[in-house]
Symmetry: D2
């Protein structure tokens, strides 16, 4: 069962096409990810407190329908891959009319002391939380 | 022969990891694309003046090396696909030390009167410029 | 009694000083203003629907205490001046510990058919709502 | 004689009013300031290398004429106050037709070891450069 983040589309995020500028969705995904990680029991702030940062290594997005000022976006997230070293999340963004607007993916890694590392080694507790989440999701197809 | 856009990395584009925030690269790509289109003889401003907008339909990026405040980025661009309806561009971003930092792609379409359209039909002159560019590039592998 | 807008400080809004970049507060103020106007019965979207835009003519901000990632900001707003032609709002931003972080003002005007205009003339109903709000506030000192 | 920073107005900086969003000017001012400080022999990067950051403590802006996509902005800067503890800069932004678009001010302070400090004490060499600049400007009225 996927996690959902709700987000109002803001005026300052529009461009002169009168739609949300495509770059802004990656900011929304980040906001959604922050809440998702909190919900998983692995808050990003605690990563940083432990000296671990989690930079994005790749992203993709497919823009299906524009989102406009004052629309409400619903961002559905699911982990599609986790191996200790990389975490891949898939996002489906719908609007308030339940129309699919954006499909996106992000992959992040984990870095400690300037080196890419495995969470399994540097932060076992968080590693287990990711594994447990995936196990529980097993068999649950993505709902949106 | 690819087109190159030079861009200084700005302080306001950094985040608390002290690197350029990953979402900002899509803004740089847009800036680069605007100059590239001008160079091709098909300026974006003229598209809009003719009632044609060119929304992004998909993007992807692979982040290889972070770019930091005051770095100078070089964005190499080439058209990888053009069929009148969609335009795909590939970007290679290097820093001032000629290190590859980001590889990205964008695909945009053309919209007139709220309908996706073929440039070949609605703006023959621009269509021919894209086709001519690709023809000339034929056989030239991407230089960077 | 002032209107309050609650806002989470986002990672993508930080800079390499590890605080919210000062330019972003003006985006927060805009978000707050949009909700405030809705609450007043004069939603910005309806302004635009009536062909009226409301550009900012001046702003100021005093930054007292930095806001950091995951802080919760509370933006208290009050109308400090309204004469039909210009609307001035004052903002006090506090964090979750009730510490004052930013004090700011914005003044916007009203534009129809590319001309600055008086709301009293072009949109009497909205004009009255602003006047009524101010009248009700009379004697209420700013609470924060 | 004031320092001038040239800046192209970008598509991603517009909003649905089809003008540069007012918050973005503070980013332009920062870019301009970075170049100005470099020109003065006190580059911001060296401040940070010496453990000094220079947060903004207050700003103001008056928006006179909108700037639109593809306009070229010229940002004229001058130091209006410097006392070792605070640095105030005034900015006049014109477009390619030499029309005045924005007048703004920023004041920044200097922070070392989490404490506001006087440059005179913590970085005498930079302090002297600011004082020398002001002395040379004495009697030169702002040119734009």
């Amino acid at each position: 069962m996927s996690y959902i983040y709700k987000r109002k589309a803001q005026y300052h995020e529009t461009d002169q096409m009168a739609v949300i500028h495509h770059s802004n969705y990656f900011r929304w995904l980040e906001e959604a990810r922050v809440e998702f990680l909190k919900d998983l029991g692995t808050p990003y702030k605690e990563f940083e407190a432990k000296g671990i940062i989690s930079p994005i290594v790749d992203v993709s997005a497919k823009y299906i329908k524009p989102i406009t000022f004052e629309d409400t976006a619903y961002i559905y997230m699911d982990i599609t891959k986790y191996n200790g070293v990389k975490l891949s999340i898939e996002y489906h963004i719908t609007n308030q009319n339940d129309e699919l607007c954006v499909v996106a993916t992000t992959t992040s890694c984990f870095v400690k002391d300037n080196q890419v590392c495995s969470l399994k080694r540097v932060e076992k507790e968080f590693d287990e939380k990711f594994r447990k989440y995936i196990e529980n999701e097993q068999g649950n197809s993505f709902k949106k």
